[in-house]
């Protein structure tokens, strides 16, 4: 079944229409999966008692799209040579990625209950040595982009078709190294690098605008020489899907930046869009409330 609605996406100033290939079922799958990620991520965090809920909620939709058709991967062979690589540079949002990987069968769901507990396979920040399916360790902000660029460069030199996906935070982009990488990637024509910034407007200490404003991220990356798509609703799986498809097929020779204007803590009203959303404690009762709320979103699809 074809979808016929038009999205409010602008690529370099031009309107964009949804690809005809995207079926209603696929859209539902991506939507459902994004809420499943949120539910499992918050369960994972609540099992420990606190954690990075806000960013895990805002990043869930792009993860859902990537792991439902956009990225090449094989849960039974996490090191599969033909896979696409993902660098979650905002490594503190690992709970969302852990949930995604567990749901896709990279490791048992039970692992999610062990995050941050002594001897766990799942540390608070994404770890490539401990977690099947994690391609790069991250946690010291600003570093993942450079690594992703290096990976993309290697694939280019070897004429391999693998893509490299990179997810940056908005607060993270206050780090200077991000902008070193932003200069580097276009210089080397890394059009196999598809980056996102999870622009949820909040960081640990409050609103980015009140701390160190990031301003027009799309304009910044465009000025640095990237192929930029600015998604007004960065939590819309259809928009994200279309943007990734466009990024994959664009022929400018530039690396792609997809700015996701997202909502931090999306789906749990207690923190959604608020300054308490970064790494709240989650009591068993709060977990129940959050899950009930997330379930309603899921059921509405």
């Amino acid at each position: 079944m074809k979808v016929s609605f038009q999205l409010n996406i602008f690529i370099n100033g031009e309107g964009y229409i949804v690809s005809e290939k995207l079926t209603e079922d696929h859209i539902k799958d991506m939507r459902r999966f994004s809420w499943q990620i949120r539910m499992e991520a918050i369960r994972c965090i609540a099992a420990f008692g606190l954690g990075h809920v806000g960013g895990s909620m805002s990043v869930a939709d792009v993860l859902s799209v990537l792991y439902n058709g956009e990225m090449k991967f094989d849960p039974s062979d996490p090191q599969w040579e033909e896979r696409d690589l993902l660098v979650l540079s905002k490594g503190h949002c690992a709970p969302a990625l852990y949930a995604t990987l567990a749901l896709k069968g990279f490791f048992p769901m039970e692992w999610l209950k062990t995050m941050n507990k002594n001897g766990t396979h799942l540390p608070s920040h994404a770890d490539r040595l401990l977690v099947p399916g994690i391609d790069m360790s991250a946690g010291s902000l600003g570093q993942g982009g450079s690594v992703a660029a290096g990976m993309a460069l290697a694939f280019k030199l070897d004429k391999k078709p693998n893509n490299v996906y990179l997810i940056l935070g908005d607060g993270e982009s206050q780090e200077g190294q991000v902008w070193e990488m932003a200069l580097f990637a276009p210089q080397h024509h890394l059009d196999n690098l598809i980056a996102f910034v999870d622009y949820n407007k909040l960081q640990l200490d409050g609103f980015c605008d009140d701390i160190c404003a990031m301003g027009d991220m799309a304009a910044k990356f465009e000025d640095f020489g990237w192929f930029v798509q600015n998604l007004e609703d960065g939590n819309d799986v259809v928009a994200i899907h279309e943007a990734i498809e466009t990024a994959k097929t664009q022929t400018t020779g530039k690396p792609s930046m997809i700015v996701l204007n997202t909502v931090k803590g999306l789906g749990w009203s207690e923190i959604q869009g608020k300054t308490n959303s970064h790494a709240p404690a989650v009591s068993p009762q709060q977990l129940e409330e959050a899950l009930a709320e997330l379930q309603r979103h899921y059921d509405a699809i």
Partner: protein, 321 residues
């Protein structure tokens, strides 16, 4: 195989470095060279001319260069990344630590102009702390090659062995210590000189090895017999050779082109104090910054001359009694 007579190397270290990179690139198709706008200074442009696709001049962005090198290595490449030792160590520490070592990547980090060899680049460019910074990073291999024979061997070892490795490298002149074709072992000191009745061991590294040899000649004139260990691998340290030196000679002088606070003297002291405490004297930089000057002037300024080593050895021997 030690040369019979000390003499300057026939080419600059950087020229040998570039020659060897080109050589290794032929046998290692994954080998790549990265730099942060210092290819001209490091003399690696011949590599660029030969292998343009395998050379990445990142521009003046050391942190990004290290990250890119990590990414390349995780996708199968063997990157040799160079900048001045100051910038490699101080500026990109966290990238080396987290993106590199913590993530078990495979990057060969080259920091040039160690210690006083930065000469007229002065205090801003004079690394007295690079090896100490790297020593604090778990599982790093840390090497200071002594001459071109060793440099070429070490580079071959680096290309063949997965892991995070740091090599500090003199760019220009150095003294030939080892005959061509000498082989080495990472983590094993070279015994450059020995005497069954050695009264003291001088543990030296880099340009201090030649000075230690000259000091030993001087000491012999007054009847002091010397063992010299070239401790070119700072980490893993050759603990066995250190302990043997302490037990067999009863006194140790460490001579390094680095600060004594976090450098080779500190590393050797940690081993000696735990296993076989003996009098020790430390030649190196004592809590000071760099400055401009000739090599000779700077060696005098920081107490690193042959004479300083001689005095230190005498003091160490005196303290045995």
């Amino acid at each position: 195989m030690i040369v019979k007579e000390l003499q300057p190397e026939s080419q600059e270290m950087r020229a040998a470095f570039c020659d060897r990179l080109i050589e290794l690139a032929e046998t290692h198709p994954e080998l790549m060279v990265l730099d942060a706008d210092l290819m001209g200074a490091m003399g690696t442009k011949p590599f660029l001319a030969r292998y343009p696709d395998r050379t990445v001049d990142c521009g003046i962005q050391e942190a990004n260069m290290v990250g890119v090198a990590v990414g390349l290595s995780l996708a199968g490449k063997i990157p040799f990344a160079h900048t001045f030792a100051t910038f490699m160590s101080r500026r990109a520490t966290d990238q080396i630590f987290i993106s590199g070592a913590y993530s078990k990547a495979n990057v060969k980090l080259i920091g040039s102009d160690p210690g006083i060899t930065a000469k007229t680049n002065g205090g801003t460019h004079m690394p007295f702390e690079d090896m100490g910074i790297m020593r604090g990073i778990p599982q790093m291999t840390i090497i200071e090659p002594t001459d071109i024979t060793m440099l070429k061997w070490v580079m071959g070892w680096m290309a063949d062995h997965y892991g995070m490795q740091y090599m500090r490298l003199v760019r220009r002149e150095c003294t030939k210590i080892y005959e061509d074709g000498t082989t080495f072992e990472i983590g094993k000191a070279m015994t450059v000189r020995d005497d069954a009745d050695a009264d003291v061991t001088i543990i030296a590294s880099g340009l201090c090895v030649a000075n230690a040899m000259k000091a030993a000649d001087e000491l012999a004139k007054s009847g002091i017999h010397t063992r010299i260990l070239d401790m070119f691998t700072w980490k893993p340290l050759d603990d066995e050779a250190v302990v043997r030196a302490a037990r067999e000679t009863g006194a140790i002088v460490v001579a390094e082109n680095h600060n004594i606070t976090t450098g080779l003297g500190a590393a050797v002291s940690e081993t000696v104090v735990r296993n076989a405490p003996v009098p020790m004297e430390l030649i190196g930089i004592h809590d000071r910054f760099g400055q401009v000057g000739t090599l000779e002037y700077l060696a005098e300024q920081y107490g690193m001359t042959v004479e300083d080593i001689v005095h230190a050895a005498r003091r160490a021997v005196d303290r045995k009694h």
